[in-house]
């Protein structure tokens, strides 16, 4: 059962209808196959690009869709129900456009943003390093001033779309005390990606190291002022976390739908298992978790759309939605019993995919830390 959404414009209604059609007909049928083969569905992103879905929350003058976050996130949610690799990929792409869109100069935006939002290219976001995960400010990759530009040296870790991205939004140290943000072309000399990590889930999405070996980056690819990189990175993550929350709700919804469908058909003791209160209540709790997680991210999105502060709400949404996804997907395996534990059904894959949502874009411990700091400030 697709979620019944309260959408306030006809374009949002039609956009969600288009998204569902693409998700149902073009994405869902091949997800299991791609994930099993660890194959990244690059073509799917071309279709999304052609359909105008790779730049939804950005300004029309730069080729974006000028849609509120409330609408963009629901598109993301629907795509995530069909494929986490696609949902997370769109969320990462959108986040990698954020620094330029919000901190670039008018000239940089006019020159670079249309290609990034236009649908043919795919972005990545390069912040983490081996020793700088939760403690991102400890990053060591260096961008040395050389003439008009910079020379970048160092290794990034865990980069979603590593090796397949056309551009990388990079955080690098421009001095011992300063981190700066750059937009690096994927074809830059001296830039190379390592082999994909062997992951527990999200196996269609390549996650790699990214090596910068004296890679030249032009001075006009610096986004914002030198030294403002950490602030830019954290601001981008605030919005990115809303994306991960929406992905989590899409995944949880898919797991709930699968479990309900199975429970209505599967008979034991002469009756459908959904009629046993022990199981019915489990499903009811799953539904409650999905609905409340959706309400939480929509509330944060509406605040963002209204120009209010939403940092604390974004962390709450990420925490609530990804914990909900972990619980709902685990319970979906339970509802399917032995079948849920096999790879013949997607329940076990959903469960593996849910786990990473509690880890990236700030672990859920870090979300609690962010929420706690907001509380302490008041």
């Amino acid at each position: 059962m697709p979620a019944h959404r309260l959408l306030t414009t006809t374009e949002a209604t039609d956009l969600l209808a288009l998204t569902r059609e693409i998700a149902r007909d073009e994405i869902a049928p091949t997800t299991a196959e791609h994930e099993a083969a660890e194959h990244f569905p690059r073509d799917t992103f071309r279709l999304l690009g052609k359909s105008g879905l790779l730049g939804l929350p950005y300004a029309e003058e730069h080729g974006g869709g000028a849609q509120p976050y409330e609408v963009y996130l629901q598109v993301l949610e629907e795509l995530s129900s069909a494929s986490m690799t696609v949902g997370v990929g769109l969320s990462v792409h959108t986040m990698s456009c954020f620094p330029l869109a919000h901190f670039g100069t008018d000239e940089q935006r006019a020159r670079l943003l249309p290609d990034m939002l236009g649908g043919d290219t795919l972005g990545a976001y390069a912040l983490s390093e081996a020793h700088a995960g939760s403690d991102a400010a400890a990053l060591r990759t260096r961008a040395e001033r050389t003439g008009d530009g910079y020379t970048v040296t160092g290794t990034k870790c865990w980069i979603t779309h590593g090796g397949v991205a056309d551009f990388y939004t990079l955080m690098a140290r421009t001095s011992d005390d300063d981190i700066s943000c750059f937009l690096v072309d994927g074809a830059t000399e001296g830039l190379s990606a390592g082999p994909p990590e062997h992951k527990m889930g999200l196996t269609g999405s390549p996650t790699t190291e990214l090596h910068f070996d004296g890679a030249p980056v032009a001075g006009d690819r610096l986004i914002g002022a030198e030294g403002s990189g950490l602030k830019i990175a954290l601001t981008a993550l605030n919005s990115g976390r809303l994306g991960i929350a929406a992905c989590a709700v899409g995944l949880a919804q898919a797991a709930l739908d699968l479990a309900v469908d199975y429970a209505r058909q599967r008979h034991q003791f002469g009756q459908p298992i959904i009629t046993f209160q022990g199981l019915e209540f489990l499903l009811a709790d799953m539904a409650a978790a999905v609905h409340s997680a959706r309400a939480t991210y929509l509330d944060a999105a509406r605040r963002r759309d209204a120009g209010m502060s939403f940092g604390q709400e974004a962390s709450v949404a990420k925490l609530v939605a990804t914990d909900a996804a972990m619980k709902v997907t685990t319970d979906a395996v339970q509802v399917l019993g032995g079948a849920g534990y096999t790879r013949d059904f997607p329940a076990e894959r959903y469960m593996r995919e849910a786990k990473v949502l509690q880890i990236f874009e700030g672990t859920n411990q870090i979300q609690r830390m962010v929420i706690g700091r907001h509380l302490a400030q008041v």
Binding site: E11, T13, D14, L15, A17, L18, L47, G52, G65
Partner: protein, 260 residues
């Protein structure tokens, strides 16, 4: 060239579909409604012809107010404008009345060269409306097209039926009905969705197209549905385990069903 596409909103084949108990008409509230898939192909074919020949594509739809969603889908794919015949009086119209209404609506448009329709809809499935519309317009009808070519003067199709494939040609104006083999329809883009909001849609009543309310609708329909029953649930199929004579068993089964 100016092309009209006849489009219909139908219950989504992905959702459960029902007839209303009261008058055996379609229970439109019980299922999600979408632009009929075959009509997406008809729109696609019109857009391809427009891209090759120039001109305008107008979609003509008869249906309740809610059918404007199906019209918007066609417009977001790239059609230029729409005519929506929407009138309470139309409820329960049968194939003949529908064809009369559609032909009358086409009559309100200027210089139409080609009408494209789906060969049958996924809900009612009389499969007769395109031919009836052509008859009422007095135009040649080229039905069951799996391929369509037009140079702006004439139209030629590959007509596929149980009897085989034939090439059929006619001078314009003409009506073509297409099968699901005709093409793969494009997805609208978000740009198309935004553009559709600004495209002209004229909503016409039965009187606006020059018919009177007592010529259409359930009350005066030449055909009436007197009873209906849900399709019986599917029964489990026969399983043949091949223990050396599986082939024989299959032939016996088929001949038992009078299929061979």
């Amino acid at each position: 060239m100016n092309i009209v596409v006849l489009v219909k909103q139908v219950p989504d084949t992905w959702s459960e579909r029902k007839l209303s108990d009261a008058d055996h008409t379609l229970d439109r509230a019980s299922a999600d409604a979408v632009l009929d898939e075959i009509n997406e192909r008809a729109v696609e074919e019109a857009l391809l012809a427009k891209e090759a020949q120039g001109g305008e594509v107008t979609v003509v739809c008869m249906g309740p107010e809610r059918a404007n969603e199906a019209i918007r889908k066609a417009l977001s794919m790239g059609a230029d404008s729409a005519v929506h015949v929407s009138d309470e009086a139309l409820h329960g119209s049968d194939a003949v009345q529908t064809a009369r209404t559609l032909a009358a609506a086409i009559g309100t448009l200027e210089s139409v060269d080609l009408v494209i329709a789906g060969n049958e809809s996924t809900d009612g499935r009389a499969g007769a409306v395109p031919a009836m519309v052509a008859e009422l317009l007095g135009w040649p009808q080229l039905t069951y097209a799996r391929k369509l070519d037009t140079d702006g003067q004439s139209v030629s199709i590959e007509r596929e039926s149980d009897a085989g494939v034939a090439t059929v040609e006619a001078n314009l104006p003409a009506l073509v009905s297409v099968t699901e083999k005709i093409n793969e329809p494009r997805y609208p883009s978000f740009k198309g969705i935004m553009a559709a909001k600004k495209k002209p849609v004229s909503t016409l009543s039965v009187a606006d197209v020059g018919l009177s309310a007592d010529e259409v609708g359930l009350g005066s329909a030449p055909t009436q549905v007197v009873s209906s029953a849900p399709a019986p649930p599917k029964e489990a199929g026969v399983k043949v385990t091949d223990e050396g004579e599986g082939g024989v068993q299959i032939v016996e089964f088929l001949s038992g069903q009078k299929l061979v």
